[in-house]
């Protein structure tokens, strides 16, 4: 018997009874590998600022409703007018408009799925940061592992370790070791690739004013790539939401700036392409460092192990 679960105890004749734990308190000797300091499992969540619809949001919502209403009513009027002219003409107009509407619905469906995936990661983040039931968190964690399986070198071992986690602390440690670690490494590689690309593009760019635009486009692609590594497939709107998370994570990891110079040195040392370009084009290093850092920050923003947002 494990000592903490209920169950029947079958008395075996002749067998010695199981030793009872001592009723008196005992301060035991340190176990092998015991830590020097107990780190508190303390991650108070960030509280959100109460959200209220701003005037700008109301204005944009009104304009969007006006445009959609206008387009929808005009389309209906167009189909009705076409049917007035000739039934075949009407069916043709209805088919064209129906196909267009179906494409718009499909795009919306994809966006909605992307939003749901983001929300699932947020929920897992809250569950992992809290002190509630491990069962719920484990189920959510298994869902996340399933979504990132193809990016994990030992997916089956990771799944088994997560399924066997008995407490929230154990679950967090397991996810960090088996899942977040490999994904972070993959994000680092993606960042290095993007850094080389960005440095090359900046070097080839005919005008310095376009440097920022090129780096921005590379950054957008990189954010989507790292998000994909973490099981997210953001569409256009979901990418915007992800961008906000990345910005929050960047604030949270502001200490990174302190080691920016070290990072630049690391990139120059380990990426020969960037080193050669940096020698020729001064702006190339800056673009490369920014892209590499963006990959790291995006990985933090996409990971359910980061502190939860409010």
């Amino acid at each position: 018997m494990s000592g903490h679960g209920p169950g029947f105890v079958d008395v075996v004749p002749g067998a010695a009874p199981a030793a009872e734990p001592p009723a008196r308190p005992v301060l035991m000797a340190a176990l092998p590998g015991a830590p020097a300091v107990i780190e508190p499992d303390w991650q108070p969540a960030l509280l959100g600022v109460p959200a209220r619809a701003s005037s700008l949001a109301l204005l944009l919502g009104g304009v969007a409703l006006l445009l959609l209403g206008w387009v929808g009513l005009s389309a209906a009027a167009l189909v009705l007018a076409a049917f007035d002219r000739a039934p075949a003409y009407g069916w043709a107009a209805a088919s064209v408009l129906g196909a267009a509407a179906a494409m718009i619905v499909a795009a919306g469906w994809r966006e909605w799925r992307a939003w749901r995936t983001l929300a699932r990661v947020d929920r897992l983040r809250v569950l992992l940061a809290g002190d509630g039931e491990v069962e719920q968190a484990r189920t959510a964690a298994l869902g996340w592992v399933a979504a990132v399986t193809r990016h994990l070198p030992a997916a089956e071992a990771a799944r088994a370790a997560v399924a066997g986690a008995g407490s929230l602390a154990e679950l967090r440690a397991t996810l960090r070791h088996h899942v977040a670690g490999p994904l972070d490494a993959a994000a680092g590689l993606a960042g290095q690739r993007a850094a080389v690309q960005a440095a090359a593009l900046v070097a080839l760019c005919p005008h310095p004013a376009l440097d920022g635009l090129l780096a921005g486009l590379c950054g957008l692609r990189l954010v989507r790539e790292v998000a994909g590594l973490h099981g997210l497939r953001p569409g256009g709107l979901a990418t915007l939401a992800l961008g906000r998370r990345v910005a929050t994570a960047a604030v949270g990891t502001a200490g990174v700036d302190l080691i920016a110079q070290g990072l630049a040195d690391h990139l120059l040392q380990h990426l020969p392409g960037v080193r050669h370009l940096a020698a020729a084009v001064p702006g190339a290093t800056l673009a490369a460092v920014r892209l590499y850092r963006l990959a790291r920050v995006t990985a933090v923003a996409c990971s359910p192990l980061a502190p939860p947002r409010g």
Binding site: H4, P21, P25, V26, V37, I38, P40, D41, L47
Partner: protein, 471 residues
């Protein structure tokens, strides 16, 4: 003169406006925090304040309080700030120094409470109703008073004559285990003749022996020790009226040692009444009473029963039991009795600790509504600083729940098995074990400026129980 008149009117108008604004928006609450020594009063207040500041900074450090402060899904807390010390006459609670102690490279526990100390906080809240919000933010000024609980135990002394107090105290000292611990002092009292002319050196010697006897009792886990200021003397430890001790009762002529001891006893009682009870005790609105239940439990039967007696008296006093020297005060609106050091007990066994606290405080709480949140008196289990982590190890051939902590002065974490925590008054068989001193674990690493508060157990529920009706 004519030119001055408008300026004076403007100033008067501004004063009236400020007074009216304070009347509408400001509320002042005196929250007293006390407990018998080693209950962790200072660190309790430090963690409470630090977590309130972190909550105002946007961290969910006190979830139950945050839930109480929510209205329509939005947090109504708009800020918490420490108020400057001003020109007060009470010693200032040095919060920054206590935080620095916890955030040191090798963290250590802040020094114990030796005197009354006060800290003031301002909590800014948005009102619940939309029309009320037009009045501006509500400001709850929280004056937190830290004072040694031993001093409260002096209250029953105040309406006693010296001879009656001496007789009761000596009778108590002659019971086990006090008799052994106070053997030197009891030997001295046996030989001391109170009717003889006062000998200053002899009286001082008797006082020193009595203080040493009280210290030995405290070290052994005993808590009902009078006078409280002999153990926590505060800033005026060497004033002559402190130099007394209980002597064999009798009638003594003027100029005798006994007469001088009685005069000193009367002066002590007068000073406590005027300097502490009338100055502070009458002002409390809310009270948190910390009890080291585990320490008392493991210190043995005498210590446990002694603590129960002390707690019963403290609860009776705080609930306004009439009688003592006209110092009856209206009942404090809310009292939270808290079993501290809950981090020495694995989470699964903390319910038993709460039941044990209930058993300890029940005689004093009869009719007090100790439902754990509702009613004027609530019971809680808490650790102001969570210094351990739950774990399981093999002990005696079985897996047992332990807590893992680094004992103070050591460099490796060790498992601590708390043993049986009875979920009620301990049965006779429980007291067969030897005296065990609760280990003191090193505080966890903490960064003073991190803004994420201090890990704790149950502080939020205590705050809701004590202040919930005002929020």
């Amino acid at each position: 003169m004519a030119a001055l008149l408008p300026a004076m009117m403007r100033r008067a108008g501004a004063s009236v406006w400020q007074a009216a604004e304070r009347l509408v928006n400001e509320q002042r609450i005196h929250l007293a925090v006390t407990g018998l020594s080693r209950a962790g009063k200072t660190v309790f207040i430090t963690a409470l304040v630090e977590n309130l500041l972190a909550l105002a900074g946007g961290r969910d450090t006190l979830p139950a309080l945050r839930a109480r402060l929510e209205h329509g899904g939005a947090n109504r807390l708009r800020g918490v700030r420490l108020l400057p010390a001003g020109a007060g006459t009470v010693q200032h609670f040095n919060h920054a120094a206590h935080v620095a102690a916890l955030a040191a490279q090798l963290p250590f526990w802040p020094a114990r409470t030796g005197d009354v100390a006060q800290l003031s906080l301002e909590i800014m809240l948005e009102r619940r109703s939309a029309p009320g919000r037009g009045l501006g933010l509500r400001r709850l000024r929280l004056d937190i008073l830290d004072y040694p609980g031993e001093w409260l135990l002096d209250l029953p002394m105040l309406d006693m004559a010296y001879t009656a107090w001496s007789a009761a105290t000596l009778a108590r000292l002659r019971t086990a285990p006090r008799a052994t611990l106070c053997a030197d002092f009891l030997g001295f009292v046996q030989a001391f003749d109170p009717a003889a002319p006062a000998d200053e050196a002899l009286l001082r010697h008797g006082h020193v022996l009595y203080c040493a006897a009280l210290e030995a009792c405290r070290a052994r886990g005993l808590r009902y020790l009078q006078p409280g200021r002999f153990l926590n003397p505060g800033p005026r430890a060497e004033v002559p009226f402190m130099w007394f001790f209980p002597a064999a009762p009798g009638a003594w002529p003027a100029g005798s040692g006994g007469a001088l001891l009685a005069a000193r006893f009367d002066a002590y009682c007068r000073d406590m009444r005027e300097g502490f009870f009338e100055a502070h005790f009458h002002a409390f609105d809310r009270q948190i009473l910390l009890v080291d239940v585990l320490g008392a439990l493991h210190a043995g039967r005498a210590a446990f029963e002694d603590t129960a007696e002390a707690i019963a008296d403290l609860c009776r006093l705080l609930r306004g039991t009439p009688g003592w020297f006209g110092l009856t005060r209206p009942p404090i609106a809310r009292v939270a009795v808290v079993a501290t050091k809950a981090d020495h007990v694995p989470a699964l066994r903390r319910a038993a600790l709460r039941h044990l606290l209930a058993a300890l405080a029940t005689p004093a709480l009869a009719g007090g509504g100790a439902a754990g949140g509702a009613g004027p008196v609530s019971l809680h289990v808490a650790a102001a600083v969570h210094a351990t982590r739950d774990d399981r190890v093999r002990l005696g051939g079985r897996d047992v729940e332990v807590v893992l902590g680094t004992p103070l002065g050591e460099d490796r974490a060790r498992p601590y098995f708390v043993g049986d925590v009875p979920a009620g008054w301990p049965p006779e068989a429980f007291w067969s074990g030897a005296y065990f001193e609760l280990p003191v674990f090193r505080p966890p690493r903490f960064e003073a400026a991190s803004g994420i508060g201090i890990p704790h157990i149950g502080l939020d529920e205590i705050l809701v129980a004590v202040l919930g009706d005002l929020l």
